[in-house]
């Protein structure tokens, strides 16, 4: 080992690609957040399979997919827009970086608006039954993550527009993207649990 002591190769300085400390930190933020959602969904399944759970599980019959399915697609497209932004900055295309982030943020906001209508259409409230408590709490947790993500995307948008990044220095973009991809991916698990499993015969 010691014979390697005089380093002759140049080392990058600063926050570069996946060697940036913040990138590693975000990986573990995602792990702990994923665990949080795992415990949330565990709570759902645990209460759903209790022998004494109310027969109305889900409350109000099979969930309506009219808004939920398109909204899921919107969120996935938003992830795609961020991925496109990432590709662009790696090619030093700063203009399309800004576009990608802006589109992703707008799609995220559309998701929130649609979620609002989805919530408003529910015939039950947070405090009605265990199912309603679970529904609003779990989707609420997810919406809170989307709100944080959208604010983050607008900040990245602003910083990109201010010309902070180039094809070597874009750690913030990569780190933020990691979070946003997680927020979108975890929605699939939430969506599957609340909207698909009732159709598969879990407690209806």
């Amino acid at each position: 080992m010691a014979d390697r002591l005089p380093i002759e190769t140049a080392l990058p300085v600063g926050a570069i690609d996946t060697r940036a400390t913040g990138w590693w930190a975000m990986i573990f933020v995602v792990f702990t957040e994923a665990a949080l959602f795992a415990y949330l969904l565990f709570s759902y399944y645990y209460l759903a399979v209790q022998p004494h759970a109310p027969l109305t599980f889900p409350e109000g019959g099979l969930p309506d997919l009219k808004l939920a399915v398109p909204n899921t697609i919107i969120l996935l497209l938003s992830s795609g827009a961020v991925a496109w932004a990432q590709l662009n900055i790696e090619k030093n295309d700063k203009r399309h970086l800004v576009w990608g982030l802006g589109i992703a943020a707008v799609l995220g906001m559309i998701f929130l608006v649609v979620q609002y209508f989805e919530w408003a259409a529910k015939p039950f409230a947070l405090a009605s039954t265990p199912y309603s408590s679970l529904y609003f709490t779990v989707t609420g947790f997810h919406m809170a993550h989307v709100v944080v993500g959208v604010i983050m995307l607008w900040m990245l948008f602003a910083w990109s527009a201010m010309g902070y990044f180039n094809r070597v220095r874009y750690a913030h973009i990569h780190i933020g993207a990691l979070y946003w991809h997680f927020v979108d991916a975890v929605w699939i698990a939430v969506f599957f649990t609340f909207y698909i499993t009732p159709y598969l015969g879990l407690r209806t």
């Binding site: 080992m1 390697r4 140049a10 300085v13 949080l36 709570s43 209790q50 405090a127 750690a171």
Partner: protein
């Protein structure tokens, strides 16, 4: 702009260099006075604060215990009302388990990790400061509630339905719930910091089979926390919702489940038990061999067993719930897992015995504390193994036998190693030795007092004394046992007092220590005592597990480790980033300046929780807004950190 603008060949220095040391001191030193106090990101400063704060909570928890033992010393005493007693035992548990046992280990690890790893600081210094400030705020939040008579009153594991609004109308549980969520943030960011530091900040050449066992212990605990903390934070949040906005998660009458609380709590709770002992076992594994003058026996097995214990530790939570009427197939599985976990968790004990057996012990106070862990761990481990068996558990659960078990585990494998570690590392922290003569008195008073106090609890439990009774009738057969327990616990408290006196006395006028008073093998002893703000003048290069014992062990590769020659990194606050397994340098990291962002974030986050506690929604919203603004300011891309397109100063 080309990639080469962002590169540099780091300079290497091969001699002790006073000019360089002076330059590094200017770069890394925290501003003196109040400004530096609130803005420092120095891991050593943060570590010491963690340790002092944790000991303050240890004293508070100890005083609560002293009051309870006063009440229980004789039958039929009513000095404390049942309500007061409920709050005392709940607050005692909360304090010792959450505000002392975890944070004190974070403190030692914060101080020691960069020194053990040959690094200039933790990977995320500002996050490190945030972790401490939130811990302090959460502790004050919980204790402020207690001071006003609103401490937790349903035991530290806070079972529903007793914790539900219908049966517990006061705000006590709300404060406990919110305070625990706040504390969870501190533990989570601290844990992320340890894991990233392990993966990225080890000195060149320190491959993962060369890190001290303390690193393995804290790493394992931190990785577990990352996955376990969300369970308890969520449980407390759902409970707070049930109590404050009328949700039905734990409300059995409408189809919720009281068992859901127990599952979520213990899915966290059991890994947490290992999180507050594994780093302490690491202290013993690193400290004890120094005093028997040989390397630890079975390094690889001990490291692997540490990880294996934690992995299995995620699959044993139901053994806290054997008496709840779960199906027998579930009981069988979790009983088997709880018995199997005895294997990896006892590997360390055998390694310590073998190390002493084949070494030449030097009977210092630190050695005696470390060695005593073997005895206490065996007693606490065997009682745990016993209750891993379902029928035994049915007989003993909720008796004083369990109280004895938890105290042998937490005092035996947390407090005794921590006090030993203080004797061991105090010279590094302060530059002064602790008093050995007073140390003997300290050790024997604590050891004898502890065993007199807590061993009889096994017997009172076997005789049927339930835990958490505020008083008991005459003639149950527990009178003498309780008196002995109370006397023993006061002797133990005197032992702890002797320890504190020794710390104070030695800090003021202990004999000077020098760099390496114990002739120990690891990197923290290669720098001065106390270490300078930058830790090492040059970054050490590591060629073996025992860099400072290589001359006599001859186990290194090539020409051996270098501690006086290595990378310079003096172009600002800089550290070397290395690859995760082999620790090959792959980047020069720019480290942050001192910053007020962490302390401000802790205060704004606490404001959210104060708003929630008092239903001042506007205050919570204001706190959230301020938190958001603070985070944006904190994360704003900085040229000095090499986060924007301008090259960082390249020198």
């Amino acid at each position: 702009m080309t990639i080469t603008d962002y590169e540099r060949v780091p300079t290497v220095s091969t001699e002790q260099n006073a000019v360089l040391a002076e330059k590094l001191k200017r770069l890394w030193e925290t501003e003196p006075g109040i400004a530096g106090f609130f803005s420092t990101v120095d891991h050593k400063e943060i570590g010491i604060r963690y340790i002092i704060t944790a000991f303050a909570f240890l004293i508070a928890g100890g005083l609560e215990a002293a009051l309870m033992r006063w009440q229980l010393a004789w039958p039929g005493r009513h000095a404390l009302t049942p309500e007061q007693y409920d709050q005392l035992f709940s607050t005692h548990g909360m304090t010792m388990i959450f505000l002392y046992a975890g944070p004190v280990l974070s403190g030692f690890s914060n101080y020691l990790w960069p020194l053990l790893l040959g690094a200039r600081d933790m990977a995320l210094p500002r996050l490190n400061a945030l972790s401490y400030w939130i811990y302090l705020c959460a502790g004050i939040f919980l204790y402020a509630a207690f001071a006003f008579g609103f401490g937790p009153n349903d035991g530290w594991f806070n079972y529903v339905p007793l914790a539900a609004r219908a049966y517990n109308a006061g705000p006590n549980i709300d404060f406990y719930a919110l305070g625990m969520i706040l504390l969870g943030i501190s533990t989570t960011v601290g844990s992320i910091n340890f894991v990233v530091t392990f993966l990225r900040m080890r000195a060149p050449g320190m491959s993962i089979n060369r890190v001290p066992i303390l690193i393995w212990g804290t790493l394992t605990a931190s990785a577990a926390n990352i996955f376990a903390i969300p369970a308890v934070s969520l449980a407390f949040f759902l409970l707070w919702m049930d109590r404050n906005v009328g949700t039905h998660f734990f409300d059995v009458t409408t189809g919720g489940s009281a068992m859901l609380w127990q599952h979520l709590f213990w899915m966290f709770g059991h890994p947490w038990v290992y999180a507050i002992v594994l780093p302490a076992m690491g202290m013993v594994s690193d400290g004890l061999p120094v005093f028997v003058r040989r390397p630890l026996v079975g390094y690889t097995v001990v490291a692997l067993a540490t990880v294996a214990t934690m992995v299995l530790g995620f699959g044993v939570w139901v053994h806290h719930m054997f008496a709840t009427g779960l199906p027998s197939v579930s009981l069988s599985f979790f009983s088997a897992a709880s018995l199997i976990i005895a294997v990896p968790s006892s590997v360390g004990v055998f390694a310590w015995i073998a190390t002493i057996w084949t070494g030449r012990p030097v009977f210092t106070t630190a050695f005696m504390f470390f060695a005593s862990v073997i005895v206490l761990f065996v007693i606490g481990g065997v009682s745990g193994f016993m209750t891993g068996s379902v029928p035994v558990d049915w007989q003993l659960t909720d008796t004083y036998f369990i109280v004895a078990h938890i105290h042998y585990v937490l005092i035996g494998i947390n407090v005794f190693p921590v006090v030993g570690a203080t004797y061991f590392w105090f010279p590094k922290f302060t530059g002064r030795m602790m008093d050995e003569r007073l140390g003997r008195w300290n050790f024997w008073t604590m050891f004898i007092g502890f065993n007199i106090g807590f061993f009889p609890m096994h017997i009172s439990g076997l005789l049927g004394m339930p835990r958490r009774v505020y008083t008991y009738a005459d003639g149950m057969g527990w009178d003498w046992l309780n008196l002995i327990t109370s006397i023993g616990s006061y002797i133990f408290a005197i032992g702890v007092l002797l320890f504190l006196i020794n710390v104070w006395k030695s800090y003021r006028k202990g004999s000077l220590a020098g760099d390496n008073p114990w002739d120990a093998p690891s990197l923290e002893w290669a720098t001065t005592s106390p270490p300078p703000p930058y830790n090492f003048v040059v970054i050490p290069t590591v060629a073996s597990r025992h860099p400072l014992w290589e001359d006599r062990l001859q186990q290194h590769e090539g020409e051996g480790s270098h501690v006086d020659a290595g990378l310079v990194l003096d172009h600002g606050r800089e550290a070397i980033g290395t690859s995760s397994l082999d620790a090959t340098p792959d980047i020069i990291l720019r480290m942050p300046r001192d910053s007020y962002a962490p302390v401000i974030l802790a205060l704004t986050a606490t404001t959210i929780f104060i708003g929630l506690a008092f239903h001042l929604w506007w205050l919570a919203a204001l706190g959230a807004l301020a938190t958001g603004v603070d985070i944006i300011g904190w994360l704003w891309p900085e040229r000095a950190l090499g986060e924007t397109k301008e090259p960082a100063i390249n020198g």
